[in-house]
């Protein structure tokens, strides 16, 4: 195992070094200084190794800190009781046992190590488990300390998490050996267990806690069971064939493509058949565009319908509460009259623009951009307009529900100004068009994907982050809704006009495969 550990760390180090040099060679100005010989320079390798490892380490600490921060915020939201954090951490550890297993997941590093370099699969797996447990032990302990939490309970919880981690890995292996499948593919089982656990993590809201004694007993039990689980994991000898089966090159690449994005946007079986009536009268790009959206009904229309359903239910519940409770109605009216910025954030989250553009690239433009006819400026602009129209129509349903929902809630709250109703209504509708356009514009102008369908442009991520930050900032504003609507409407119209002009002038040059 020591040998495997050594080689695995060596692969990680080389990966960190070469990724860092690769990054340097992509940066403006610096790229001229570093030629291909950069990969052979010992000093540069040493420096890159240092910075690369530092970067990986910082990323690890930062992400764990973020995990604790999220639990901290959620705990505070659920209840002000000090025990809430430990309760939520405990439940999240159990959730992690089901969703965060690493043993049988496919990734590029595993593919290279086991399939290409032919490392011993069992040793590799034991090393991986050991490394995961070690990093969990140190990072979790560090975060308990940084968050100034009770170190005694913290340490017990850290041990509990290590225990359930090993149990989770062995359960997954057991399930896979029995059914030749992963348990998360059993959607009903997956969502049932996770929903129950997630619901239980909120139990401090009704003063129901997992107390210290229970944590202590559970930890003892988890440690004992984890030892048995570890022996079960070690007793199995046929990891190589399992790995070869699940860790194919395409699986490895897909999994490394940020959260298996490709499978999110793939055409679902049930969408292959299209109602002939919908396409029989269409021709050319209209025909092409219609088929594209029809074949992606699952990721587009069904999700929008689901969001719309959730919105309607939410507005009905809010409406009933508002009628029933005067105080709540006043509070709601104040919110709708002065915190319209919240809807910018809501519209940001429910808009399907980002996923649509991903599907466009993976399933359509990635191939079509190889054909010269598809790169004609008139075609690019024509299809852009067609797509904008379709995406805007798709996103219009939830926007209309929000607009009417808000109007009804305002009416219940006693609002009488027609200007307020109209302003808010128009603003929400235009906001929906804005987001539909925004994702399409940045996709056409910054086309962020490369030939291998990996997202490669930093500028795209920066623009996406700025978009989110602006939406978040808007949600914090306390401004009269009428003022907000008017300013919002003007800004949206300006953005739409300018971006359409920019797309018309630049997209034929920028919309290509990098």
């Amino acid at each position: 195992m020591i040998r495997t550990l050594y080689y695995s760390l060596k692969i990680d180090t080389y990966y960190a070094i070469n990724s860092f040099i690769y990054l340097l060679r992509k940066l403006p100005i610096l790229k001229d200084l570093f030629t291909e010989d950069a990969y052979t320079s010992k000093i540069l390798k040493l420096l890159s190794g240092f910075f690369g490892i530092l970067l990986s380490f910082t990323k690890m600490v930062f992400s764990r800190y973020l995990y604790f921060l999220i639990i901290y915020i959620i705990s505070n939201y659920i209840s002000k009781d000090n025990r809430t954090f430990y309760h939520v951490f405990f439940i999240f550890s159990i959730i992690g046992m089901f969703i965060n297993n690493k043993l049988l997941t496919a990734n590029m590093k595993k593919y290279l190590s086991i399939v290409v370099f032919k490392m011993d699969a069992k040793n590799y797996l034991k090393y991986n488990l050991f490394w995961t447990l070690l990093t969990n032990l140190s990072l979790n302990s560090l975060c308990f300390y940084l968050f100034n939490l009770d170190m005694k309970i913290g340490f017990i919880l850290v041990l509990f998490q290590l225990g359930v981690r090993v149990i989770g890995e062995s359960l997954e292996l057991m399930y896979f050996r029995k059914y030749a499948n992963f348990w998360y593919n059993n959607t009903f089982l997956y969502f049932s267990i996770l929903s129950i656990l997630l619901l239980f993590s909120f139990s401090p809201a009704i003063n129901l806690f997992i107390n210290q004694d229970m944590i202590f007993i559970s930890t003892l039990a988890s440690i004992v069971i984890s030892v048995v689980s570890y022996f079960y994991i070690c007793s199995f000898n046929d990891y190589t064939s399992i790995f070869k089966r699940i860790n194919t090159l395409s699986n490895a690449i897909n999994n490394d493509l940020s959260n298996n994005r490709q499978s999110i946007v793939e055409v679902k079986k049930k969408d292959i058949q299209i109602d002939e009536k919908k396409i029989s009268t269409k021709n050319g790009y209209d025909y092409f565009n219609t088929i594209f959206f029809e074949r992606h009904r699952d990721i587009l229309l069904r999700t929008v319908k689901f969001i719309s359903f959730v919105l309607i239910v939410s507005y009905i519940i809010l409406g009933i509460f508002a009628i029933d409770n005067k105080e709540f109605s006043i509070m709601l009216n104040d919110f709708l009259s002065n915190r319209l910025g919240w809807f910018v954030l809501i519209m940001y989250f429910i808009n399907r623009g980002s996923i649509v553009t991903q599907a466009m690239f993976y399933n359509c433009d990635h191939a079509m951009l190889k054909y010269n006819f598809y790169r004609e400026p008139s075609v690019i602009i024509g299809l852009f307009k067609m797509r904008l129209k379709t995406i805007s129509q798709i996103n219009l349903l939830p926007a209309l529900i929000i607009s009417f929902g808000n109007a009804i809630l305002l009416f219940i709250g006693g609002e009488t100004s027609v200007l307020n109703f109209v302003g808010m209504f128009l603003f929400i509708i235009l906001l929906s068009v804005f987001f539909s356009l925004h994702y399409l514009v940045i996709y056409y102008l910054l086309q962020p994907y490369n030939q291998e369908m990996q997202m490669k442009k930093l500028s795209y991520s920066v623009v996406s982050l700025i978009t989110y930050l602006i939406c978040y900032w808007a949600s914090k504003l306390y401004v009269s809704s009428l003022t907000f609507s008017i300013i919002g409407l003007v800004l949206c119209i300006i953005y739409i006009l300018i971006s359409l002009k920019i797309v018309e002038n630049y997209a034929p040059r920028t919309f290509k495969i990098n």
Binding site: K31, T35, E36, V267, Y285, Y287, C364, F373
Partner: protein
């Protein structure tokens, strides 16, 4: 019909790939472009197809109406890894393509016959096509578009021998009205199918004198030429 490439140069950051390439290709011939791995064959095609910008040089086409700068519409490019819109069926893709190019000389089935795509495959999603079938589909689109220049990057790689023969026959039929340049690593294929062998060697192109293409002497000459490539 002639394709003139004049002083074409292309480099990536610190690496010179193509240097002052001067060459003329004619219709009526299939040109086999040979070069070692990384010699720049795909870069050469990408420059002609304007997929990438080149540092210097001009590319002209003379097609009955004088010598003009080439337009991408004059080029059909069949890439080595076939790319087709996987969300469409073969029939939908073909219908769409015929629609946008306003072509209606033949029925859809007649077009499929050109590349021998069977009826039961026509309504399959292109996602479910094999590599060879996708390649046929890509070739079919390029044939229908009727470009003056057809670039084929490793078109027969990983195809079964039946499909290889079908495509070879098709290319032979097309050569009279098109300028066909085909890149390959397989010398036997180039010698069997092509009328001229062009070698990409030391960043530049040279046409090997047309001799007895099947002679061992000629084969040795080409291999020697390829070995001479500094390949930096």
């Amino acid at each position: 019909m002639k394709l003139y490439i004049e002083n074409l140069s292309k480099s990536y950051i610190d690496k010179n790939i193509l240097k002052d390439i001067d060459i003329t290709f004619e219709s009526g011939k299939i040109y086999g472009l040979l070069g070692r791995n990384g010699a720049g064959k795909t870069t050469f095609f990408n420059c002609i197809n304007e997929d990438i910008t080149y540092d210097s040089g001009k590319i002209y086409l003379e097609a009955g109406y004088g010598k003009n700068l080439i337009n991408t519409n004059d080029i059909g490019y069949v890439v080595s890894t076939p790319v087709v819109p996987e969300f469409l069926t073969a029939k939908e893709f073909l219908k769409f393509f015929l629609d946008i190019n306003k072509i209606s000389d033949k029925s859809i089935e007649e077009y499929f016959d050109i590349v021998k795509i069977e009826k039961e495959d026509q309504n399959k999603l292109l996602r479910d096509f094999s590599h060879g079938m996708k390649n046929k589909m890509q070739l079919l689109i390029n044939i229908i578009a009727n470009p003056k220049v057809i670039l084929l990057d490793e078109p027969l790689t990983s195809l079964d021998i039946v499909v290889q023969e079908e495509i070879k026959e098709l290319l032979k039929k097309l050569k009279d009205d098109h300028i066909i340049i085909l890149s390959t690593h397989i010398l036997e294929l180039a010698m069997d199918l092509c009328d001229e062998i062009v070698i990409l060697n030391n960043k530049t192109l040279e046409i090997c004198d047309k001799e007895n293409l099947n002679s061992k002497k000629y084969k040795d000459k080409i291999i020697k030429s390829l070995k001479d490539d500094k390949h930096d």
